[in-house]
């Protein structure tokens, strides 16, 4: 009897040892390895260990999309990997991503995020976190100019007038910092009711709603109310904002960490994007999802890891440590958002931005991020006065048509 018990024990031990699976996950380099390590240490590691799963994070430095494409085609891709929204259609079209419909319940996640990773009615990724744009304003400048702070009821006109008020303060003070990038300007086009792609998958830059938004954005720069970051010797809006000479920056929650280092005393507030002519706000959804390798040998373990990495506990930890904004709707009531600090308030507005108005994923079909180039060029040309709006947009339209045609070929 004793012998039997021992042999059963031994057998159980051996199977447990055999059942130990290593799930490899691939993601960005930089801070992410450290964040995942903290997650494994402090939140999900024990649970996974009980299931016999060890997780190994493999950061891909440099150009993530190039590195992931290489890994997928060489067959060395991990069981789980990041899928950035902007390149998701291309990665998913390769057939290397496992559909998740039957494996994961997407119900608890924010709908627009689920939509971003739903292609042909199949779900391919669960967003790990996200960001949207918000208005960050310098309270000192608005106080000095005796202008009311921007607020959630602003429409385009009242917003522009407030910026004009701030810009009137001094020669080297500007109302806002507007980069010549679709990645920021696009939110205005969406607020005008414009959609990047029609049903046939084409882009219309000569649509009157797009032209209206384009003129609004570029006119403010030409008028001297808004300024391009490069004109202040800065690389991006955040740098502009940190100089104390710019009233408003339109950025996501990523600006918070930057300001902590570059301008720790800047007194700023955050509010929603202004309401556009369509009666709605416009916004981008920047996100990265976890997807599962279709060729994985450890499908069950990979699903378990994916669930752990997008679990409520994980997202709560990430949120409360100020590292990212959760993709689960249930976390809207997290006490962190109600803390009342400047940063928690900014995070709340970015979180709620996902459900307010015309929110469109930072995604450009199979064309990928190249799709933005013609629009960015047109923005630069008009802002610097090299071309007028019509000429710039007609040129951009031709280029974008060519890009779309090439991608669909």
């Amino acid at each position: 009897m004793k012998k039997l018990a021992i042999s059963i024990l031994v057998l159980a031990f051996v199977t447990a040892a055999l059942a130990q699976t290593t799930v490899r996950i691939m993601g960005y380099g930089g801070e992410d390895p450290r964040i995942v390590a903290r997650l494994l240490d402090e939140v999900i590691g024990d649970d996974l260990a009980e299931q016999g799963i060890t997780v190994q994070y493999e950061p891909l430095e440099g150009d993530y999309n190039a590195a992931l494409t290489n890994a997928l085609s060489a067959g060395t891709a991990a069981d789980l990997f990041y899928i950035p929204a902007e390149t998701a259609p291309g990665i998913i079209a390769s057939g290397k991503v496992l559909p998740l419909d039957d494996l994961v319940d997407s119900g608890p996640f924010i709908t627009s995020l689920v939509d971003t990773y739903t292609i042909d009615n199949q779900l391919y990724g669960i967003a790990k976190d996200f960001n949207t744009l918000a208005i960050h304003y310098n309270k000192d400048l608005f106080d000095e100019a005796a202008v009311e702070y921007p607020n959630e009821n602003d429409d385009w006109d009242s917003f522009a007038n407030k910026l004009r008020g701030v810009a009137a303060l001094d020669d080297d003070v500007y109302g806002a910092c507007f980069p010549a990038e679709f990645a920021r300007f696009g939110a205005f086009a969406f607020a005008a009711g414009w959609q990047p792609f029609d049903a046939a998958g084409n882009t219309d830059l000569l649509d009157e709603r797009f032209v209206e938004a384009f003129s609004y954005y570029t006119d403010l720069v030409k008028e001297g109310v808004a300024v391009q970051p490069s004109d202040l010797g800065e690389g991006w809006t955040g740098g502009c904002f940190a100089t104390d000479n710019v009233g408003v920056a339109i950025e996501g929650a990523w600006i918070l960490g930057f300001l902590r280092d570059a301008a720790p005393n800047l007194q700023f507030g955050t509010t929603f994007m202004p309401i556009g002519p369509s009666g709605e706000r416009g916004n981008f959804l920047y996100t990265v999802a976890w997807g599962i390798n279709a060729d994985t040998a450890n499908r069950d373990a990979a699903v378990a890891v994916l669930k752990a990495l997008t679990s409520t506990d994980t997202q709560q930890f990430v949120l409360e440590n100020g590292l990212a904004i959760p993709s689960r709707t249930a976390l809207a009531d997290n006490p962190f958002f109600a803390e009342g600090t400047v940063e928690s308030e900014a995070n709340r507005i970015v979180f709620e931005g996902a459900a307010s108005g015309n929110v469109i994923g930072f995604q450009f079909g199979k064309v990928g991020t190249d799709w933005m180039a013609p629009i960015n060029n047109a923005l630069t040309a008009v802002m610097t006065g090299q071309q007028d709006v019509n000429a710039a947009l007609s040129a951009a339209q031709n280029e974008i048509d060519a890009l779309i045609e090439r991608a669909n070929r």
């Binding site: 950061p59 891909l60 000192d140 690389g235 930057f258 280092d261």
Partner: protein, 476 residues
């Protein structure tokens, strides 16, 4: 140059004196031109490096417009930093904030005529690192342990000061306070400080230069008011070591990267010197069937760029060189230094340089050794190799530099964990972490440090380098 001048003949129609003067002028013109060209080259090549080095100590290296008036390079601040570091943690070099600290601080404001000076409000803020690896780590905050004594006005002096492009008369008012660490607690390496004053009161000077003026002149903000000299000047350098730490071992990643680069560099230098000289000697001196074919193959191998064959090399390493690596217990050579070293034991170019060099050594020397009864190995090891020192010196520096700066191949082979990377790939990690938020100081500091070994190597080996290259290049 002198020889060239004396050989130019004097025409008959000018006097000897005129000719001499003309010759002297020409000499000076040539010397001037040569120096001008050399100076221009030096500025073009060294300027960016110098500027990067200087910028790497600044709080915001990309601040525009660029300036050479850098607080970190002013002796006044060095002295203050040392004094404050001593007051903070009894450490004049690296500073800090330790129990028992008593840090005195003074700040001078300019108050225009007709305005009444007001006491500024100092605060030790709870400043959490915002971006980069530092933001993910949990740290102790000086704010939790510091107390500030009440601010006292200690001096008023009249004078003139430029405020927003306008010179005004008024008075300079000096305020003083102390920051204390009472009771027990951890030693904290940074003591940030914010001093707020009304906007009409302009900041003029303080014990230590401020890091930045914020809120349109209202807040004088300091990243660390107890830095110590080195902590003040080399803050970004210190961060490269202290912030990036291995997830598993908590060791400094930057140190790991540096040592990996050194290991690979030294190993490659040793194997290259040995194998290239042996192969070069064989190709230059021995006669055996197929010698020319082998030489042509080596030349051919040199012509193929690494990018063409890296996939096959990658697969060979993945399988541990046809499972050979299992002999010493490695199933794959990916993500191991052994893999990088084994795949670069010797380069075709090195063999070529050594062959050319050995051919330039007179055969008679070896024949003499042969008569003395030297064996083949002795002739190589005791006679020819010592004569090849210039070529070996050049090879050392070229190989080490190549290995040290190599980016592509280690980037392909060494992907995970972070600890295994070499310095150039590590710098890419830094760029990804810090570049996105414009924190260039730490990246510049890392880049400057990665350039140092090569600079030192060049200085030490420059004699060999010049000799060796001229040997390798001209005796074809």
């Amino acid at each position: 140059m002198a020889r060239a001048l004396s050989s130019s003949a004097k025409p008959n129609w000018i006097s000897q004196q005129q000719f001499n003067r003309w010759q002297a002028r020409r000499l000076w013109a040539r010397a001037g031109l040569t120096y001008a060209v050399m100076l221009a080259f030096a500025i073009i090549f060294l300027g960016p490096i110098l500027f990067a080095t200087i910028s790497s100590v600044r709080t915001d290296p990309t601040a525009y417009p660029p300036t050479l008036n850098i607080p970190q390079l002013s002796p006044r601040n060095w002295a203050a930093a040392a004094r404050l570091g001593r007051a903070g943690a009894n450490n004049r070099w690296w500073g800090g904030f330790a129990p028992g600290a008593d840090v005195p601080f003074e700040i001078i404001y300019f108050v225009p005529e007709g305005q009444e000076p007001e006491l500024p409000e100092p605060v030790v803020p709870r400043r959490r690192p915002g971006a980069g690896l530092g933001s993910v780590l949990a740290i102790d905050y000086a704010a939790d342990y510091a107390t500030i004594t009440p601010v006292k006005e200690i001096e008023r002096k009249t004078g003139r000061f430029v405020v927003r492009d306008e010179e005004l008369s008024g008075q300079f008012v000096t305020y003083a306070f102390r920051i204390l660490y009472e009771g027990d607690g951890p030693e904290i390496n940074r003591l940030p400080l914010d001093i707020t004053a009304p906007r009409r009161q302009s900041y003029a000077r303080s014990t230590l230069s401020l890091s930045r003026l914020e809120r349109r002149g209202r807040v004088a903000s300091y990243d660390n008011v107890a830095p110590g000299v080195l902590g003040y000047v080399l803050y970004n350098y210190r961060r490269t070591f202290s912030e990036a730490r291995s997830i598993t071992t908590e060791r400094s990643l930057f140190l790991n990267w540096v040592s990996n680069s050194f290991i690979i560099g030294f190993a490659k230098v040793l194997t290259t010197l040995l194998f290239a000289s042996m192969a070069g000697y064989a190709l230059a001196r021995l006669s055996f069937p197929g010698k020319n074919l082998i030489f042509i193959l080596i030349l051919f191998a040199q012509m193929i760029p690494g990018q063409v064959i890296f996939i096959s090399n990658y697969l060979v390493l993945r399988d541990g060189i046809f499972s050979l690596s299992r002999l010493w217990g490695q199933t794959t050579l990916l993500n191991s230094l052994t893999g990088v070293i084994l795949s670069g034991l010797v380069g075709a170019g090195a063999v070529f340089i050594m062959k050319q060099f050995f051919e330039s050594i007179p055969r008679e020397i070896e024949e003499a050794a042969m008569i003395d009864g030297a064996s083949q190995w002795q002739r190589y090891w005791n006679v020819v190799l010592p004569m090849a020192r210039p070529a070996l010196g050049a090879l050392t520096i070229l190989t080490f530099q190549g290995a040290w700066n190599d980016f592509f191949w280690p980037f392909v082979v060494l992907t995970t964990p972070e600890d295994i990377k070499t310095l150039p790939i590590g710098l890419l990690t830094f760029r990804n972490v810090y570049g996105g938020t414009g924190d260039w100081g730490i990246i510049l500091a890392g880049a400057v440090m990665s350039a140092l070994p090569i600079v030192i190597l060049f200085i030490v080996f420059q004699k060999y380098f010049l000799e060796g290259v001229s040997f390798g290049g001209t005796k074809g």
